[in-house]
Symmetry: C2
Subunit: 384 residues, 2 copies
């Protein structure tokens, strides 16, 4: 089409509100100043609000993978046993990091369209009373599957030397994550997701139990050494040069999020996800995630028989300016994923579904045109 | 003053050109796209031009300290012997990182206003033929002192299993750094310096010899594992979500730098540094760095007797909007540092010197007003 109006609908990076983009485009200031320290303090308070926690929340200049690595190197020592329950690409990555640092991994591996089983984790803990940690991804970016973090955490909570580590990179800012109420010791997110920022900044919350684990840890570390960040936070600063503009943008984004309110943000994401699900089902497509594990950050959908997901993604992007994404690894051409995480409203879902309908029509898929829009519209109407 | 027009004149972060700020404020795109891959390829080519190298140049989503750590964890194993020649805060940091990873450090320690001695390094290499690396900071951010990298590298070049690692975080993009001609195996920089970007991105060049060292290295690593970055670069991408907007900004900044040309950039910085030095000397101030080690990224100056550097910095910032910085650690109140690294021209130096003169006058320092401007003006006039 002639006007290349573009829509980013992937599970990360996500769109950044113009106010936040412009905040980050302001002239650079120095980071060792009262002005920036006030921004750091404000950002940390906002993160605590969004994480539902009184724990320390540390900000790292890295992508989410850096935050994942920081949890491993700060909580454990070589040879420590950890239970990793994984059902997607980022669970696999947790395992790779743990292995790289010489941990002994009790590996609970699931199909990508299964949720992690709470009883399996409980059994693994019973069989391995010396396990020092349980690591689970809340919302798998690769599949949109939501794992029962609250219930898993309940199995870990009373174990004094076992920490519950949650990769909520695609969860925080979209889905319920009650860090303190659920007893989550380490929760991490990345900037380019629910926080509505460009990538390059990560945040990690650390409980008292996790700080005790950090005292025991002997793995080598420097850049990701949490203690350095905690000490600097006492003065509202960072041990190394921070991702300055991203923290300024974060502070602005968190203002928007606090204005909307945690519960409203979660309700909005639930609504958008529901509309997306009912929309795609109304045109005969099958959802990838099982009913008990459907997250609201991204909706993964099986590509129709005979149509590779990559073709749908390509037409939507090249001809209609709508960027969704296909699957990863084994699911590359078998599923596509519609992101609705962060700066999204109902009309973005309508846009995504319309572009999808147009692409599917051109690819010869047989369905009733407009049916997905009608279904989504009903979801939005019923919300009032 | 009523209009708060502000000037950032610290050795990092440095001012970012408006074109670059606006490039980074464009709507977010996805990173796994042909569009972003072209940007990555362009950025890498530009970095190779600025680094003067045909080596791989890897981009990390981290601050400069992350790049320093990446050199340690990729080139060495626990117990390896490295020679660290240090004369400032960032040399100290190299030592701390090496110690955190269990290396044996041959510690060549100098006063902060001394340059590293080439013959000391040669002697240390002769006494420790098993040394696996020599680590030196080219331009110490903490002091502006410039170390003789070319000459030090010449001592290392013919040793087949010893790598020359250069922290050029405040050097690249301002001072001569002939990566290939001088035989520098690892050179690193951070985005918020000569590259004229916000902080949060680092770049590291890796020679064939350094890749051989990486093959031997057994230190645990994941996020900073160079091999993952090299493999991804074959497809013009990154192993983990990149600092997307910073790489887009980098590509834009590198265009500006390539238009100006490497030699012209270095000549400009030399001229600005010379004008700054002659300016401050003309009003009776003493330069901190010795004549044989004066870098052109930042000019450190002894604060006059009885006037704490912090007071000068405070007046310049609060009353005149000009942000320079004082010393670090032992030199906190004894020196101040005028940055002229990156996006700087002659009138920035005039601004800095004028603000300095006004602050000094108010603090009771006795000198001939305008003398620093006259001296700087002469330097600029003589350049034509």
């Amino acid at each position: 089409m002639s006007l290349p109006k573009r829509y980013l609908m992937t599970p990360g990076p996500t769109p950044v509100p113009a106010d936040v983009l412009l905040t980050m485009a302001r002239p650079i200031i120095h980071h060792r100043t009262a002005e920036f320290e006030a921004t750091v303090a404000e950002a940390v308070r906002g993160l605590q609000y969004i994480f539902n926690t009184k724990n320390d929340v540390l900000m790292l200049a890295s992508s989410g993978t850096g935050a994942m690595e920081s949890a491993i190197v700060n909580c454990f020592s070589a040879g420590d046993k950890v239970i990793i329950a994984r059902n997607g690409k980022f669970g696999d990555r947790e395992k790779s990091i743990a292995k790289a640092y010489g941990l002994e991994v009790i590996d609970l591996c699931y199909e990508w369209n299964q949720v992690v089983s709470v009883s399996d984790v409980a059994d693994a803990l019973a069989a391995n009373p010396d396990a020092r940690g349980v690591i689970v991804t809340q919302s798998e970016t690769s599949t949109g599957v939501l794992n029962p973090i609250k219930e898993i955490a309940a199995c870990v909570r009373d174990l004094s030397d076992t920490v519950m580590i949650v990769d909520s990179i695609t969860g925080i800012g979209a889905m319920e994550c009650e860090t303190d109420d659920w007893g989550l010791d380490v929760v991490m997110t990345g900037s380019q997701k629910g926080l509505m920022l460009p990538p390059g900044l990560a945040a990690v919350s650390v409980s008292e139990k996790a700080w005790r684990a950090a005292e025991r840890s002997t793995l080598p570390k420097f850049y990701f050494d949490w203690k350095k960040y905690r000490k600097s936070l006492e003065k509202d600063t960072t041990p190394f040069t921070p991702a300055l503009t991203l923290i300024q943008g974060l502070s602005e984004a968190l203002k928007l999020m606090q204005e909307e309110g945690r519960e409203n943000i979660i309700a909005r994401h639930n609504l958008l996800a529901k509309a997306t699900r009912e929309g795609v089902e109304a045109i005969g497509l099958q959802l990838f995630a099982p009913p008990e594990g459907r997250g609201s950050a991204v909706t993964p959908v099986w590509s129709p028989e005979g149509i590779p997901a990559g073709k749908i993604v390509k037409i939507m992007k090249e001809d209609y300016g709508v960027t969704i994404t296909n699957g990863q690894d084994d699911y590359k051409d078998r599923i596509f994923r519609i992101g609705h995480l962060g700066y999204f409203g109902p009309f973005d879902i309508i846009t995504a579904l319309t572009a999808l309908e147009m692409a599917l029509t051109r690819l010869g898929y047989n369905f009733e045109q407009g049916a997905s829009i009608k279904a989504a519209e009903s979801v939005f109407l019923n919300a009032h």
